[in-house]
Symmetry: C2
């Protein structure tokens, strides 16, 4: 294989220094893998492999950070909309540094930070070989956590705000689970795009602290589930009734959000943290003309071109670089602590309120 | 008033024979009215009034037939999306014959059959004065029952088939309550437009007779609620999975219909005969990208121009005139039997399987 690489290189002249370096390079990658579906702390195991040098359009990367997303936990458990082919290396997003490029790679170079955007690559590993076209360069002033978590949650918030209702400055958006990573992204994008956000969270001991935190991100209003049921916010015309609502909880919480939507409003469901279905009164559909839709960022990504995705990520990168989009509340852990993290996340069913990321730089 | 009419007429010349006739004409109208909301057989009362001759843009009509629609029963009961201002003459559609026209009326003439299409006029009466512009002439070869029932049920079927999914010949539509008046209209329009219809009805003693009846209208398949739950019709690819579903029942029946929708399918709710809400699994929204919408023909009519409505009714009239659209299964009763009819309809909660119309021609 290495011999072939040299031959190929020689076709366009003498073997270059880069190619010689490739020959010398043999990188060990440590990764998490499952051979069967099940509870993550039981079925995940740590493995090692030697990586070949990148060929042609490939790049060799060193992972910097990769989040543990609830959807990935569900995939490992076999409780998701799509089943993985086994064995399976989990992890659906990351930020990585380019160590080496195949000779045909033009869009990135050694030292660049990149995110994978070409579908599932398995990011819970220290090093990987990616296809060069399927990565996007991260601007210098975007931090690692923001970059590593851009393709799932900020992308979900971005698309849900853009693709369902033609919102005008001053319009209102309402959401439950507002302290989730998507929720935080929604709040920040609403602020940037001059939309008002009404944010619903579950009551908790430190509720004032949480409200202050979400307001500091740009939330117009933050209310508990109890408060949203009885609020006069919309009746008093203090704020226009929302044309768009986001639901990641289901059950009664979804009903609470739905009740406040303006006539012809749309409720978009992107999560189901309560595991309870939506109950929709017929009058909401027939007389109030409310629509109920769903959103799944994986599906959106598959159905849209690389260019469309790049355009969105670059727009988000720009906001991140200019300080208008903070990373989600988070905690960094080394890869070795994966079992403890999985047990912790299983306990709270993903509703941890902070994003846990593997940090590969330590 | 009559004197003023003569003066007005004289402005454009000598009083004409027509104006003299108007002077002679004084028509007694018998009508049903409510002064309070409640059970129809209790609150409806029969009244009489003398009608003035039609002025300017008005026309005097003799009602021929007017249906008792479930929505009107609900309005009388105060259980509808909009409340009437009292006193209130019920009845939301009819066919009538023009007896006399005001001098500015151009679109219809004496002897024409018309339907009112300008909003609520109250059709449960023997005679009425309408605004000339707000009526549409009925072609000669459309029968009275078809004409009297075109604006609610066939219009609902027409819009639901046209406005939600861009259906192509061969595509499938699924619906519950398929023997309802809308259901029958859906079946017939699907046949005309080369769409396949899968029709769900409740099981009943004469189920084979009902299936044969709906198939004679053009139904591709007719299944009971039990049969639709276990059918292999779509899995076997015998018929493509439906892109569009119609729900007038709610509850479990809606779930049965929803489960068979193709990915990205739309379920449109236009009725709630079971009075049970829809229960929507989050996976249907997120992973299967099913949308849940509502349709209310009254709202559609208010939000669209007279021209748009005329265009639809004329298209439907053409189908009716050419024998491609049969009237709903029905029974004609004299106005005097209104109490018995209301008691009968209250008992079955509107699920009578045949349309009852007041017949004013006897």
């Amino acid at each position: 294989m290495l011999y072939q690489k040299l031959i190929l290189s020689s076709k366009i002249g003498l073997p270059k220094l880069m190619s010689l370096n490739i020959r010398a390079m043999s990188v060990k990658s440590t990764f998490l893998q499952i051979d069967e579906l099940g509870e993550p702390h039981k079925v995940l195991k740590k493995c090692e492999t030697q990586l070949d040098s990148p060929k042609d359009n490939e790049i060799l990367v060193k992972m910097l950070a990769a989040p543990i997303n609830p959807a990935v936990i569900n995939i490992i458990q076999g409780k998701y909309g799509e089943s993985p082919s086994l064995p399976f290396i989990p992890g659906n997003e990351a930020v990585a540094e380019v160590l080496k490029c195949g000779q045909n790679v033009k869009n990135v170079q050694i030292g660049d930070r990149i995110i994978p955007i070409g579908g599932h690559v398995g990011t819970w590993r220290t090093h990987a070989i990616f296809t060069g076209q399927d990565v996007l360069k991260v601007p210098d002033n975007v931090d690692n956590v923001n970059a590593a978590t851009i393709t799932v949650n900020p992308a979900t918030a971005f698309r849900m705000l853009r693709d369902f209702v033609d919102l005008k400055p001053g319009d209102t958006v309402i959401q439950n689970g507002a302290n989730s990573a998507v929720g935080q992204a929604v709040i920040q994008l609403c602020k940037v795009w001059n939309l008002q956000s009404v944010n619903v969270v579950r009551n908790r001991p430190n509720i004032d602290e949480l409200k202050a935190q979400l307001k500091s991100l740009g939330a117009t209003e933050v209310l508990t589930e109890e408060e949203i049921r009885t609020t006069a916010l919309f009746k008093s015309k203090q704020i226009p009734s929302p044309k768009l609502g986001f639901n990641c909880v289901g059950g009664k919480s979804a009903t609470n959000v739905m009740r406040h939507l303006a006539s012809k409003g749309i409720l978009v469901t992107y999560g189901a943290m309560s595991r309870e279905p939506l109950t929709i009164p017929n009058s909401a559909l027939i007389f109030k003309d409310i629509s109920f839709r769903g959103f799944w960022v994986s599906k959106w990504s598959k159905e849209h071109t690389l260019e469309e995705r790049q355009q969105m990520y670059n727009e988000l990168f720009e906001l991140m670089a200019s300080g208008k989009f903070a990373p989600p509340v988070h905690r960094l852990i080394p890869l070795d602590e994966y079992k403890e993290a999985m047990i912790e996340l299983a306990d709270v069913k993903g509703m941890i309120g902070e994003k846990i990321l593997f940090d590969f730089t330590k």
